[in-house]
C-alpha cells in the first residue's frame, strides 16, 4: 500500500474551532422571524383510554396560535423498523406510558406555550397497567397494543448446530440468571426540531437527528405527504448515542404546525422529556446455560432473553437480532440456541443505544465465563484465548470474518493490566478483571444501507465533498474528509464538506450501527478516486504518459519515477480545463456493503456486517469494604478497529465509551415506580462526572480489513460492550462477590459483603 499522508493523522476535528468559540449552531440555536414555540402535553397515566381532549382554554391563552390532539393528525403509524410500526406522533385513542404525547400547542413565546399546556383538559379512562415484562407475557395481562395480545412484539428463536446433543456431550453445565437496568443515553443536547414550509408546501426540518434520510421517510409518512415534500437538514448535533435515531413528536409537531400556521415552528425537549419520553437501553432478564468440556472448550450455549421494551417497539426486532448474533462472536460457539422476546410494558420506551442489545448479553456471557473458569480451574484469560474466534474460520452462523485480532486484544489487554502479576494476587479490596467483545462495522438500517458521496473539484482547485453522513459529534465529517484529502493528495483544510442535508447530499444510512466510516468512508473514497482519475487522465495526456505512472500528493501531480516532473494542483486544474474537458470535475461514489438486512436474519442465515471489530477490556478496581464504594482505578482497552483513520478521534470514541460503560456498571439506572421515572434529572441519575473517571489506557491492535476504507473498522460502539463485565469480574477478584444484576451500587456491595461474612 502506498504511504499515507492524511489518513492515520491525529487531526483535530474540522468543526472544533466553531465549537470552541461558540459559533457552532445546534438546532435550538437557529431561529427565524415570526417563529412559534411549541410544547407537548403528556400523559400522567401509564395506561388509559383518551375519552376527550378539550383545547378550548389553551387556545384562549394570549399568544397561543394553534393546538392539536391525536385526533387532528393523519392516522399514520411510524417506527424505525417498517414491519414493527406501532406508534402515532400523538397518541390516538390510548396512552401507553407516563409521558405519552397527548396534545401540543404553539405560541409566540415559550411562556405562553407552557401556560397553554396546563390549560388543556383531558378525560381519561384508566386501564390496568403492567410494568414487569415477565408479568406482561403471562396470559391475562393487560394488553398494551390490541394487535399484540400477548404483549410480545418481537421474537427470535434461532438455533445453530445441535444444542441438546452438545449439552449431553458436555462435561459441565452452568446455568445463571442475569438482569440489567434501563440506561439513558444522556446526550448533552436535548432533542430539538425547527420546521418551515415554503410556498409549494415543502417542509424543511432542522432536527437533532442522527439519521436524516430515515427521518425524512418517517416524517413524510406521519405527515401523509410525499418524501419529495420533506427536506431534513442536520445542524450540529450534541451527541446521540442512538437516542436520536427515532422520529419524535417534536419532529412531527414542528412540521405539522408549520404546515397549519405557515410560520416557522420550534420544539425543544426539556431534560426530563429526554429522560422519560425518548428512548433508553432495554433492561433485560437473561437466562444463560453453557455446556463445557473439561479442557475449557465451550460446546454450547442456550439463552432466554426477555427485553423490557416499554410502550413501543422502536428498534425491537433489530435489537434482539443483534443480541442473538453477537453471542456468536468473539468466541467459537458451534451450538447456540437463542430465544429472545421483546415485551411491551407501560414504561419508557427502549431503543438503540451504543451497543444496541449486545451489552446486556455480553455482560451475562463474560460474567459467566469467569464463573466457569473458576469452577473448572482455568485462568479466565486462558479460557477466553482457548475459545477465541480466528479470522477466516468457517463461522457457524455464516458470518464472514475477514480480519480478527481478538486473541491479540486479549493478550495485550492482559499485559497492560498486569494480569499475571495481579489476578488473584492483590490484597482484599483490590482486583482485576477482563472481558471480550465483538461488534459489527455497519448494519443495514432497514434498506437504508447504501451510502453515496460526490466529490467536486472546482475551477480554482478547491474540493467540495457532499456526503449524507451525519456527524453527531464523533467526527465523521473529519474522518471522511481525511479520506478524500488522502485520495486527492490534498491537505485536510483543502476539503470543504457539506453533509447531511437530504436535498443536497446523497443518500446515507446515517449514524447507525457503527458503519459511518466504513460505508460513507468507502463511498467518499470512491468518489474521490473517480475525480482523481478524471484529472490524472488529462495530465497524463499532457505529459504523454499513462495515468498509472502519475502520483498525486502534497498538492502536486507528478511522475512516480521522477517526482521533479509534475505540476502543482492549481496548474493541473488549468491543464485539465485547457484540454477542453468539462468542469467541474465530479467524482461519484456509491457503496453497498456485502451484508444482509438484519431482520431477514431472523429467518435465514447470512453475513451480518461487512466487517467486525474486536476488543478486550480489562479493569482494575478498588472496593471499600466499609462503605461498599467501588472505584475503577484503571481501564484498558485493546481494540482491533482495523486501521484508525484518525487515532485521536478513535481514542476519544473509546474513552467516552469506556466511561459510559463504567456508568452502566456502577452508577446509572432509570428508576421507575408504577411506570413513573423517579430520577429524570442529572441530579438523581448517575451519569459519571469527572470525579469518577479512571485512568484509561488504549492499546492498539491494528488489523487490515479488506472491506473497510484503508482497512478501517468500527471504533465507537463496540467499546461499550465489555467495560461493565470487566469491572464486575474485577469486583469479584477484589472481594469474592459475584454480581449478576446491574448497576453494582454501594448499597448492593455492602449487602453482599454482609451476606458473605455471615455465611
Amino acid at each position: 500500500m502506498r504511504e499515507l499522508n492524511i489518513v492515520g493523522k491525529r487531526a483535530p476535528m474540522l468543526d472544533a474551532w466553531e465549537k470552541a468559540t461558540g459559533k457552532a449552531k445546534y438546532t435550538d440555536d437557529l431561529s427565524f422571524p415570526g417563529m412559534l414555540f411549541g410544547k407537548i402535553l403528556r400523559s400522567p397515566l401509564p395506561h388509559a383510554k383518551i375519552l376527550r381532549v378539550d383545547l378550548t382554554e389553551a387556545l384562549k391563552v394570549p399568544g397561543v396560535k394553534d393546538a392539536i390532539s391525536g385526533k387532528d393528525i393523519p392516522k399514520k403509524k411510524y417506527g424505525i423498523v417498517p414491519k414493527a410500526k406501532d406508534e402515532y406522533a400523538l397518541a390516538i385513542e390510548k396512552v401507553r406510558y407516563i409521558g405519552d404525547e397527548v396534545a401540543a400547542v404553539v405560541a409566540t413565546s415559550i411562556e405562553a406555550a407552557e401556560e397553554a399546556i396546563s390549560k388543556i383538559r383531558v378525560e381519561y379512562e384508566a386501564l390496568p397497567a403492567v410494568f414487569d415484562p415477565l408479568e406482561a407475557m403471562k396470559p391475562g395481562a393487560p394488553i398494551i397494543h390490541e394487535e399484540v395480545p400477548d404483549n410480545i412484539s418481537a421474537t427470535i428463536r434461532k438455533e445453530f448446530g445441535n444444542v441438546a446433543k452438545a449439552f449431553e456431550e458436555s462435561d459441565f453445565l452452568f446455568e445463571d440468571n442475569f438482569e440489567t437496568q434501563p440506561v439513558n443515553h444522556c446526550p448533552m443536547e436535548p432533542q430539538a426540531a425547527l420546521a418551515m414550509v415554503d410556498h409549494q408546501g415543502k417542509v424543511t426540518l432542522w432536527s437533532s437527528t442522527q439519521i436524516p434520510f430515515f427521518l425524512r421517510r418517517n416524517l413524510a409518512t406521519t405527515l401523509d405527504i410525499p418524501e419529495s415534500k420533506v427536506r431534513i437538514i442536520k445542524p450540529k448535533v450534541g451527541g446521540g448515542f442512538g437516542q436520536k435515531i427515532d422520529l419524535y413528536a417534536k419532529d412531527f409537531c414542528a412540521a405539522f404546525f408549520a404546515m397549519r400556521t405557515g410560520r416557522p415552528v420550534k420544539f425543544v425537549y426539556d431534560r426530563e422529556e429526554v429522560f422519560t419520553c425518548t428512548r433508553q437501553r432495554h433492561p433485560m432478564h437473561i437466562y444463560l446455560k453453557t455446556g463445557m468440556k473439561k479442557d475449557g472448550t465451550i460446546l454450547a450455549q442456550q439463552f432466554r432473553v426477555v427485553a423490557d421494551g416499554g410502550a413501543y417497539n422502536s428498534t425491537a426486532p433489530l435489537m434482539i437480532t443483534l443480541a442473538c448474533f453477537f453471542i456468536m462472536l468473539p468466541y467459537r460457539i458451534e451450538n447456540l440456541l437463542f430465544e429472545g422476546y421483546h415485551v411491551y410494558t407501560n414504561k419508557p420506551v427502549g431503543g438503540a443505544m451504543r451497543g444496541h442489545g449486545i451489552p446486556q448479553v455480553r455482560f451475562a456471557v463474560e460474567t459467566q465465563l469467569d464463573v466457569i473458569a473458576e469452577k473448572i480451574g482455568i485462568d479466565p484469560l486462558e479460557l477466553r484465548l482457548k475459545n477465541a474466534f480466528q479470522a477466516g474460520e468457517p463461522h457457524p452462523a455464516k458470518l464472514l470474518v475477514q480480519s480478527c485480532g481478538f486473541s491479540e486484544t486479549l493478550k495485550k489487554a492482559a499485559e497492560a493490566i498486569a494480569w499475571k502479576e495481579k489476578r488473584g494476587k492483590l490484597p482484599f479490596g483490590r482486583g482485576v478483571g477482563l472481558a471480550g467483545a465483538s461488534f459489527p462495522s455497519g448494519v443495514s438500517n432497514m434498506s437504508h444501507i447504501s451510502s453515496g458521496a460526490i466529490v467536486k473539484i472546482e475551477r480554482d482547485g478547491s474540493v467540495t465533498l457532499l456526503t449524507g453522513a451525519a456527524d453527531i459529534g464523533q467526527g465523521a465529517e473529519t474522518v471522511i474528509s481525511q479520506i478524500v484529502a488522502e485520495e486527492l493528495g490534498m491537505q485536510l483544510e483543502d476539503i470543504r464538506i457539506t453533509a447531511a442535508d437530504t436535498e443536497i447530499t446523497p443518500l446515507d444510512p446515517g449514524t447507525f450501527g457503527s458503519g459511518v466510516t466504513l460505508r460513507a468512508g468507502n463511498a467518499a473514497r470512491m468518489a474521490a478516486q473517480s475525480a482523481r482519475e478524471k484529472l490524472l487522465e488529462a495530465i497524463a495526456e499532457k505529459m504523454e504518459v499513462t495515468p498509472g505512472e502519475l502520483e498525486i500528493k502534497n498538492r502536486r501531480v507528478f511522475l512516480k519515477e521522477n517526482p521533479e516532473r509534475g505540476f502543482s494542483f492549481e496548474e493541473a486544474i488549468k491543464i485539465y480545463q485547457y484540454s477542453d474537458r468539462p468542469m467541474p470535475i465530479i467524482g461519484r461514489g456509491s457503496y453497498f456493503p456485502p451484508a444482509k438486512e438484519p431482520t431477514t436474519l431472523l429467518r435465514e442465515d447470512g453475513n451480518f456486517s461487512p466487517a467486525y471489530s474486536f476488543m478486550t477490556q480489562a479493569a482494575e478496581v478498588e472496593v471499600d469494604p466499609k462503605t461498599g464504594r467501588v472505584k475503577v482505578l484503571k481501564m484498558v482497552t485493546a481494540h482491533d478497529c482495523g486501521r484508525a483513520i484518525n487515532p485521536m478521534l478513535v481514542e476519544g470514541q473509546l474513552e467516552g465509551s469506556v466511561v459510559g460503560g463504567m456508568g452502566q456498571a456502577l452508577y446509572e439506572n432509570v428508576v421507575t415506580e408504577r411506570g413513573q421515572v423517579l430520577n429524570p434529572s442529572f441530579l438523581d441519575y448517575g451519569i459519571p462526572t469527572a470525579m469518577e473517571i479512571p485512568s484509561i489506557v488504549s492499546v492498539e491492535v491494528e488489523t487490515n480489513d479488506p472491506e473497510g476504507p484503508y482497512g478501517a473498522k468500527e471504533s465507537g460502539e463496540g467499546t461499550q460492550l465489555s467495560p461493565a463485565p470487566a469491572i464486575i469480574n474485577a469486583i469479584y477478584d477484589a472481594i469474592g462477590v459475584r454480581f449478576k444484576d446491574l448497576p453494582v451500587t454501594p448499597d448492593k456491595v455492602l449487602e453482599a459483603l454482609e451476606k458473605k461474612s455471615s455465611s
Binding site: 400522567p44 438523581d684 448499597d747
Partner: protein, 322 residues
C-alpha cells in the same frame, strides 16, 4: 422551563428588605444565590409574587474576626468561605463542607445564608408540574396528603443541606433581623423539624449573619453520595469532639439527609461523654445510631440504607478523630 412572572425588587438595605418581606411574607421569596430557589420556581413548587434580591444589599458578604467571635455575613459565597485562609485555619470543617456543595459554579453562586435556608427535599416535591400531575398535590405543594407516608398528617420532606450540620457541630449561632429588630439564637433552633415549614424564622425575618466562637476541639464533615460531585448527601455527618485528659468532654453529632431538619443525636453525644474512644465504644455507638435515626423514603435511596450509612459514617468519623 420558564420562571413564572414576579415583581423583582432590589432593596438597598436589610431594613428595607424586612419591610417588603413583612408586607406579604407568604408570597415573597428571598433570592440569594438562586441555586435552590430558582429550580423550585421553575418546577412551580415555589410561586412568589415578589422576589427580593438580597445581593443588591451592600456589606453582607464578610468574614470577620472580632475578639473571640467569628462573624460570617449571610451573603458570603461558599466559594469565599472555603478559600478564606481564616476559615481554613480555624474552622476547616466549614471549608470541607462548603467544597462538597454541588460543584464549582454552585459554590460560587451559593451563599452561606441561602444554604442554611435551602428548602427541604422530597422525590414527590422537587419535580416538574408534569411529573407531579401524576398524583394529587402533597402537603408541601399546598395539598392534603403526604405521598411518602400516606396515613400521616404532616410533610416528611428531608433536609439535605451540607453547611448546617457542620455549623451546628461547631455550636454556631445566627443573627436574624426582623420587624422587631435583631435576635441571636443557636443555629440549631433555626430548624423546626417540620417538613412543610422547616425554618423557625418569624414573619419578616431575614438571616443576617452567623456567629462562631473559637473552639478547641476537632471536627470532621463526612458526606456520603455515590458520585463525587453535584449530588446532595444521601446521608452526611458533622462530628465535633473536645477532649480533656484524653476523654471526650463535649461532642456534637449532627446528621443531614435523615430527617426533616439537620439532626443532632444527643443520645450518642451522651454515650460518648467521658469515653477515650478505645475499646468497643465506637462499635456500640455506630450500631446505636442506626436505630436512632428514622429517615423516610424521600429519595431513591431506601430508609434502611440511610440508617446503615449513618452508622458507617459515625464509625468512620470517630475513627478519624480518635
Amino acid at each position: 422551563m420558564r420562571l413564572p412572572k414576579f415583581e423583582y425588587i432590589e432593596p438597598k438595605s436589610l431594613r428595607e428588605a424586612v419591610k417588603i418581606l413583612s408586607a406579604h411574607p407568604s408570597e415573597t421569596s428571598l433570592l440569594a444565590g438562586g441555586t435552590d430557589l430558582l429550580v423550585n420556581m421553575k418546577y412551580g413548587v415555589v410561586k412568589p409574587t415578589t422576589l427580593i434580591n438580597l445581593r443588591s444589599i451592600p456589606k453582607l458578604n464578610y468574614i470577620l474576626e472580632e475578639k473571640e467571635t467569628l462573624r460570617i455575613g449571610s451573603l458570603t459565597s461558599l466559594h469565599d468561605l472555603y478559600t478564606s485562609p481564616l476559615i481554613q485555619e480555624k474552622f476547616p470543617i466549614l471549608s470541607q463542607a462548603a467544597r462538597e456543595v454541588g460543584a464549582f459554579a454552585h459554590q460560587v453562586m451559593g451563599t452561606i445564608g441561602g444554604n442554611l435556608c435551602q428548602g427541604n427535599r422530597c422525590r414527590f416535591y422537587n419535580q416538574s408540574p408534569f411529573w407531579r400531575s401524576v398524583r394529587p398535590p402533597c402537603f408541601k405543594a399546598g395539598g392534603e396528603i403526604c405521598h411518602v407516608i400516606k396515613k400521616t398528617k404532616e410533610c416528611h420532606s428531608t433536609y439535605c443541606g451540607d453547611m448546617a450540620p457542620a455549623l451546628i457541630a461547631l455550636g454556631a449561632r445566627v443573627k436574624v433581623i426582623g420587624p422587631q429588630g435583631e435576635r441571636i439564637f443557636p443555629l440549631k433552633r433555626l430548624y423546626t423539624q417540620n417538613g412543610k415549614k422547616p425554618l423557625s424564622l418569624r414573619k419578616g425575618e431575614i438571616l443576617k449573619e452567623i456567629l462562631l466562637s473559637q473552639s478547641s476541639g476537632k471536627s470532621i464533615y463526612l458526606k456520603w453520595r455515590w458520585r463525587g460531585s453535584i449530588e446532595f448527601p444521601i446521608v452526611s455527618l458533622a462530628l465535633y469532639i473536645e477532649k480533656e485528659d484524653n476523654k471526650i468532654s463535649l461532642s456534637r453529632v449532627v446528621f443531614s439527609g435523615v430527617g426533616e431538619g439537620p439532626l443532632e443525636i444527643s443520645e450518642i453525644e451522651k454515650s460518648l461523654l467521658g469515653s477515650t474512644l478505645e475499646g468497643s465504644i465506637i462499635d456500640s455507638v455506630s450500631e446505636q445510631v442506626t436505630k436512632l435515626v428514622s429517615p423516610m423514603r424521600t429519595s431513591i435511596y431506601s430508609p434502611a440504607y440511610k440508617r446503615k450509612m449513618a452508622g458507617i459514617l459515625l464509625r468512620e468519623g470517630l475513627d478519624k478523630l480518635k
